[in-house]
C-alpha cells in the first residue's frame, strides 16, 4: 500500500465528527502513518478552515447535530468541487450511501471500522486527489506546449517561407518577361511549392486555434448571405484558374447563424475551394443556403471527381487524404475538412458528405440559428 511519503509534504487530512473519541482515534492512526491530521467537532469549524487550507481528503460524519454531514458535503463541494470527501456513518444503509455519493462524496466508511479499513479509505482518497491533480497539471502543460508550437509555426517557419515567396513573387512580377524561360518556369514552380507549405502552416494554425477554442465564438452571430457572397468572391480567382463555375443560390431571409463570421467563412470557403480543386475544367460548384427548421443548411455541391465510398467515413480525419488517382495529384494539407468539422462542432452544428465517384460530391453543413440561443438566454 502506498504511503503519502512519496510527496515531500505529508498529505493533509481533515476529519469532521461530533464524537471526540472518534476524532482522537482517527488522528492517532493516521498521524502514525505520516499524515498531517486536523480534526473538527462540527461542520462550521471545518468549513471555516477550508477557506485557508485545502486538504487532500476530508472525512465527514453524516450524523452530526447542527449542520449534518450531507449539508457539510454540499457546502464543501460549493467551495471547491475538486476536494475529495469520504463519508463516515453509523447508519450504513444503501440509502444513506447513495445520498452521500449524490451529494459528491467519493467514498464511504461504515462505523465501526478497523484501523486498516480507515487506512484503505484514506489511501484511496489521497490517490484520487493525486490523479485529479496530475491530470489537471498535464492538461495545463499540454496547452502550454500547444501554444508554443503555434508560436513556433508562425514565427520560425512561416516568416522565412513568406519572405522567400515574397522575393519570387516580386521577381516574377517585375522581371518575369526578361527571365530565361527555364528560370521563369522554375520560379513559378517554387512559388507553387512555397504556397502549398504556407497553406499547410495556416491550416495547422487554424486547427490548433480551433482546438484551443480560440476561433469559434459561439455567442457571436453571422449573416450567412453576406459571408457566402464574400467567400464566393474570394474563390473567384481560384475558380477562374481552374475554369470552374461557382454559382450561389441563397435564401436572403435566413436568420443569422451562431458563430463568428471568420469561422463560418473558413468552413464554407474550405468546401468551395475543395469543390474547385477536385473538379474538371468546365466543372461547376453550387452553393445553396436556406433555413431548415431551427438550423441554417448550406450545401456545397460539385460535379467533380467524387470520393470513393470506402474513403467517405474518413475524410474528416486530420491528415487523411483520398488516395484514388485523380485526387492524389491535387495538392492539399489534409486538414481542411478536419478544420471544418471542428469548427462546425464547436458551433453546435453538423457536417456530412455524400458522393458518387466520378460524378461529384455534396457537403452539407447545418448551423444553429442565432435567434435560438438568444431566446434561450433571455428565458
Amino acid at each position: 500500500m502506498s504511503r503519502p511519503a512519496e510527496s515531500t509534504a505529508p498529505a493533509r487530512i481533515f476529519v469532521i465528527d461530533d464524537d471526540d473519541v472518534m476524532l482522537l482515534s482517527c488522528r492517532r492512526i493516521l498521524e502514525r502513518d505520516g499524515y498531517a491530521v486536523e480534526t473538527f467537532d462540527n461542520g462550521h469549524e471545518g468549513l471555516t478552515r477550508l477557506e485557508t487550507v485545502k486538504p487532500q481528503l476530508i472525512l465527514v460524519d453524516l450524523k452530526m447535530p447542527e449542520l449534518d454531514g450531507l449539508q457539510v458535503i454540499q457546502r464543501i463541494r460549493g467551495l471547491d468541487p475538486d476536494l475529495v470527501i469520504a463519508v463516515i456513518t453509523g447508519y450504513a444503509t444503501i440509502a444513506t450511501a447513495v445520498d452521500a455519493m449524490k451529494a459528491g462524496a467519493y467514498d464511504f466508511l461504515p462505523k465501526p471500522f478497523t484501523p486498516d479499513e480507515l487506512r484503505l479509505v484514506v489511501t484511496r482518497g489521497c490517490e484520487r486527489w493525486r490523479l485529479a491533480n496530475d491530470s489537471k497539471r498535464l492538461r495545463h502543460e499540454k496547452e502550454a506546449a500547444e501554444r508554443r508550437i503555434v508560436t513556433f509555426l508562425t514565427h520560425q517557419l512561416k516568416s522565412p517561407l513568406a519572405a522567400a515567396k515574397q522575393y519570387l513573387d516580386v521577381l516574377a512580377f517585375t522581371s518575369g518577361t526578361e527571365l530565361p524561360p527555364k528560370a521563369a518556369e522554375w520560379i513559378a514552380r517554387s512559388q507553387a511549392r512555397l504556397e502549398e507549405m504556407l497553406i499547410l502552416i495556416d491550416d495547422w494554425l487554424t486547427l490548433a486555434n480551433v482546438e484551443r477554442g480560440a476561433v469559434s465564438h459561439r455567442e457571436a452571430s453571422t449573416e450567412l448571405p453576406a459571408v457566402i457572397s464574400q467567400v464566393a468572391q474570394a474563390a473567384a480567382p481560384h475558380a477562374e484558374r481552374s475554369r470552374v463555375t461557382v454559382t450561389t443560390s441563397v435564401d436572403p431571409g435566413i436568420p443569422p447563424v451562431c458563430g463568428d463570421a471568420g469561422s463560418v467563412a473558413t468552413v464554407i470557403s474550405n468546401l468551395v475551394i475543395n469543390g474547385i480543386k477536385y473538379n474538371h475544367p468546365s466543372g461547376e460548384v453550387t452553393l445553396r443556403a436556406a433555413r431548415e427548421g431551427e438550423m441554417a443548411r448550406v450545401d456545397v455541391t460539385d460535379n467533380g471527381i467524387g470520393i470513393p465510398e470506402e474513403s467517405l467515413p474518413r475524410i474528416f480525419e486530420e491528415f487523411y487524404r483520398v488516395g484514388n488517382g485523380a485526387a492524389r495529384d491535387v495538392p492539399g494539407s489534409g486538414l481542411g475538412l478536419a478544420i471544418c468539422r471542428r469548427i462546425v462542432e464547436e458551433l453546435g452544428g453538423s457536417i456530412e458528405a455524400a458522393s458518387t465517384l466520378g460524378s461529384g460530391s455534396t457537403f452539407t453543413v447545418r448551423l444553429p440559428l442565432a435567434t435560438r440561443t438568444g431566446s434561450q438566454r433571455a428565458a
Binding site: 522575393y167 467563412a265 470557403s269
Partner: protein, 138 residues
C-alpha cells in the same frame, strides 16, 4: 505612372523590406524603411511619408499596434494611409479584424506574402484618395 510618392516600410524582416522596396521603386516610388516601431515612428515624423506599410508582428508581438496608435495620435501623421501587412492574417482578414471597430485604425490589412499586383493597386488607390477633411493642415 502616378507622381512619385514616399512610402515608409516599418518591418523587422530585411528580406521582406528588400523585396517590397524593389517592387515599389519599380513603380517609381521613393522607399524608406525602419526595422522597428520606435525608429519607424521617428522616421515617419521626420519625413512625413505619403503612405506607411506596417508589420504588426515585430520584435514584440503587439509592437505594430502601438506604432499605429502613435501614428494616429500624431496630428502631422494621423491622416497618412497605413497598410498593415502581416503573416498573422490569413485569407479573411476583414472578418478577423473589423477596422470599423475603431481599435485598429488601419486603412487596409494585407497578408504576407503579398500579391504584387494587389499591393500596387491598393497603394495607388490609397495614394490617389482625396485627403480626409482636416488633413490639409499639415
Amino acid at each position: 505612372m502616378s507622381e512619385p510618392k514616399t512610402i515608409l516600410i516599418i518591418d523587422d524582416d530585411p528580406d521582406f523590406v528588400a523585396a517590397i522596396s524593389h517592387l515599389l521603386e519599380t513603380c517609381g516610388h521613393r522607399v524608406r524603411s525602419a526595422p522597428d516601431g520606435r525608429k519607424g515612428y521617428e522616421l515617419a515624423q521626420a519625413i512625413l511619408p505619403d503612405l506607411v506599410l506596417l508589420d504588426v508582428m515585430m520584435t514584440e508581438r503587439t509592437e505594430g499596434f502601438f506604432t499605429l496608435e502613435r501614428i494616429r495620435r500624431t496630428p502631422a501623421l494621423k491622416h497618412v494611409p497605413v497598410i498593415v501587412v502581416s503573416s498573422i492574417y490569413a485569407e479573411y482578414p476583414s472578418f478577423r479584424v473589423n477596422p470599423d471597430a475603431g481599435w485598429l485604425p488601419a486603412d487596409l490589412f494585407l497578408a504576407k506574402p503579398t500579391d504584387p499586383q494587389r499591393l500596387i493597386d491598393e497603394v495607388t488607390r490609397l495614394l490617389a484618395a482625396p485627403p480626409v477633411s482636416g488633413s490639409v493642415a499639415s
